[in-house]
């Protein structure tokens, strides 16, 4: 068996050596996935040899894997050979020329969310050259960060400029063998963000993909790597509340966080991709692998996520608590309406002594939405005095939706203290009546109760993000109340 496998690999390897050069010259690669495509992709991005090797190892491993089947997620099969894994950024002429050409529904949502006009153009993919005022702001940011030795750039740039750092940390938290979609991502990821905060440096501003002005669309296989060296601090914001225009149905990103001794990383996400229409057609499949490692003692990683978009969301931002006294946190709001499905949660792996984790998950299911929390709290043998607290609440709106809670708790150390609590209930008619009696409309009353339900999570977000998130919940629930 082993021999024939190697033979096959060699054969594939030979093929790509001959085949890929012509591909590099083309503007876009043809649809499909093989070693030629990966070779061409890597060459186009002028990557060093180690990157190509790593991509190919990931690809070969991916070939041996089966696409996962999840009990609570249903979707038609994905044809991986029909995806285009590299295409040059869309030329200006293909884009809408002004907001007049953009789907009015999208514009209506921007209006409700209060997105500034200039930003609306950017978000809707309108062809604009100098984007908005923040170009200069962004430059100022870059100077300031460089002064402190903080690296914040696109992944492609990092591969070119800081290959040693990339080689050291890439795949160190999410190995290319991790799972079907992480392996695929490792083989074909197009771009993403890279952050390195040196020892003892406290990043003075919130880093956000939002500020990477005019960075070309990172596409469906995004890769993010954030390293906080000893005693460093960084807060990273991903996504934004406005729905982004996107043609790709499948998204399989990987995010890796590394926190060394005494370092702290706070990672916040607002995910509001296209959820599909009222019948659930055409929405994004969002299969993400997010994981952080608290490598050193007293390291701290915190995930906060507001998930209101995508037809299917499958993600479990996790923390591996290796260092003694390290801390992992997960705060999540997941909302499903119409025919959306969300299967999300976290894994907290306690390895070091006196490690702590907190999980607060708030699920809201409306319409025909299906909302599942799936979480693992694992306390390994050496993890003395580990602590976990999990609170997992679901709110149901309407009798066609579903809310499910699947926590796994595995404890191998007697000094551990693990507490899990979950509740599921209908949105309270008494509360809604009370608010309406005070003059609020039915929709505002629902929005207010739901936002109250989510408050513990929102308070983990930066102020302005939290305000946007609240509006987003209101908008996402439209049509959920009769």
């Amino acid at each position: 068996m082993a021999t024939s496998n190697r033979e096959v690999e060699e054969l594939i390897g030979r093929q790509y050596r001959h085949g890929f050069t012509t591909l590099v010259e083309a503007d876009s690669l043809p649809p499909g996935l093989n070693e030629d495509i990966i070779g061409a992709l890597s060459a186009k991005k002028q990557e060093p040899a180690f990157m190509l090797e790593w991509r190919l190892k990931a690809y070969r491993h991916w070939l041996t894997m089966k696409e996962p089947k999840w009990a609570h997620v249903h979707y038609p099969p994905v044809d991986f050979q029909s995806i285009i894994y590299y295409s040059a950024p869309k030329s200006q002429k293909d884009r809408p020329k002004s907001l007049d050409e953009v789907d009015p529904k999208l514009l209506e949502t921007y209006e409700k969310l209060g997105i500034p006009l200039k930003e609306r153009e950017l978000l809707a993919g309108v062809a604009v050259d100098a984007v908005f005022d923040s170009v200069s702001v962004a430059t100022t940011f870059k100077d300031k960060l460089a002064e402190l030795g903080i690296i914040f750039c696109s992944f492609s740039e990092a591969v070119q400029k800081y290959p040693d750092l990339v080689q050291k940390y890439l795949g160190s938290v999410v190995p290319y063998t991790d799972n079907f979609y992480a392996s695929l991502n490792s083989a074909v990821f197009s771009d993403g963000s890279f952050v390195y905060v040196p020892k003892g440096v406290r990043c003075p501003m919130e880093l956000s993909t939002y500020f990477r002005i005019n960075a070309s669309k990172t596409g469906q296989f995004e890769r993010t790597l954030i390293v906080a060296d000893e005693g460093a601090y960084v807060r990273y914001l991903e996504g934004c509340t406005a729905p982004m225009r996107d043609e790709n149905q499948l998204h399989a990103a990987v995010v890796e966080l590394v926190a060394m001794k005494d370092a702290q990383i706070k990672y916040s996400t607002v995910q509001n991709w296209y959820p599909g229409d009222e019948q659930g057609r055409g929405g994004i499949y969002n299969f993400v692998t997010k994981r952080g490692a608290c490598r050193g003692d007293s390291a701290r990683i915190s995930w906060t996520q507001i998930e209101t978009g995508s037809a299917i969301t499958w993600k479990y931002p996790s923390v591996i608590l290796e260092g003694d006294n390290s801390v992992g946190e997960f705060y999540s709001v997941a909302l499903t309406n119409n025919y959306q499905q969300a299967d999300t949660g976290t894994k907290m792996i306690h390895i070091g002594k006196n490690t702590r984790s907190t999980i607060v998950s708030k699920g809201i299911a409306a319409g025909h939405g299906q909302n599942a929390y799936r979480g693992l709290v694992k306390v390994l043998k050496g993890a003395r005095d580990a602590r976990n607290y999990t609170q997992c609440d679901s709110l149901l709106m309407g009798d066609k939706c579903g809310a499910h809670t699947f926590p796994y708790i595995e404890v191998k150390n007697p000094t551990a203290k693990v507490e899990h609590e979950a509740t599921t209930s209908k949105i309270s008619e008494d509360q809604l009546y009370y608010l309406r009696q005070r003059g609020l409309s039915a929709e505002d009353a629902v929005s207010m109760v739901v936002n109250g339900f989510c408050k513990e999570v929102f308070k983990e977000l930066p102020m302005e993000f939290a305000v946007e998130a609240q509006k987003l919940i209101g908008v996402s629930l439209e049509g959920a109340v009769g």
Binding site: R436, M448, N451
Partner: protein, 250 residues
Amino acid sequence: MLSIKNLHVSVEGKSILKGINLEVKAGEVHAIMGPNGSGKSTLVHVLAGREGYDVTAGAVTYLGKDLLALRAEERAREGIFLGFQYPVEIPGVSNIYLLKAALNAIRKHRGEEELDAIDFLARVREKLKLVEMKEDFMYRSVNEGFSGGERKRNEILQMAVLEPRLALLDETDSGLDIDALKIVANGVNALRTPERAVVLVTHYQRLLNYIVPDYVHVLVQGRIVKSGDKSLAHELERRGYGWVEAEARA
């Protein structure tokens, strides 16, 4: 202001109100008294627009409008305030946030400008004094962890801020000690103006020592069986409800 004619209401097929007639004019305070289960709370909830009550006959006019055709929030914006007997907890929603949202919804309905944060706070601070509550109270979640007395004072505070035309107070005195009762009564009395009306629902006469009603009605088994002035309340206090019930049957 409010005119109730031959109102019949049933809940899950069971008849609760059996022909209520009541006229409330601006500037008046009406007390509705009656034994437990006589339909007092049903009456105020039907007026406030709670779902689950079937009006099987009769009509209610409020400021010339067909009240029963309006939804609960529309009634609130038209100036009807219900002080709940059991105010519900709403975790995560602060008092101040609710008040601001409610006040602005009402002002918008009236075609008035929304209050800015400074004017709003000034108004709330003034009303807080009226019910003797501290400001930090405003930043706690609506009724969450409040004592019975705090909840009732919170209802009065909301009423004071929202300045309704018609206040319906459902057993606002229940569960209050004498100091809290006085505070609540002060709050209500401060609201008494020639333009406004108050309907008090209560089981005991005690509250009426502090809020003196113009009219007292006795509700028994879904009907107003006796009406009078404040002396009727004293008589009920002295003699209980038995004699009215007996008179009603006679």
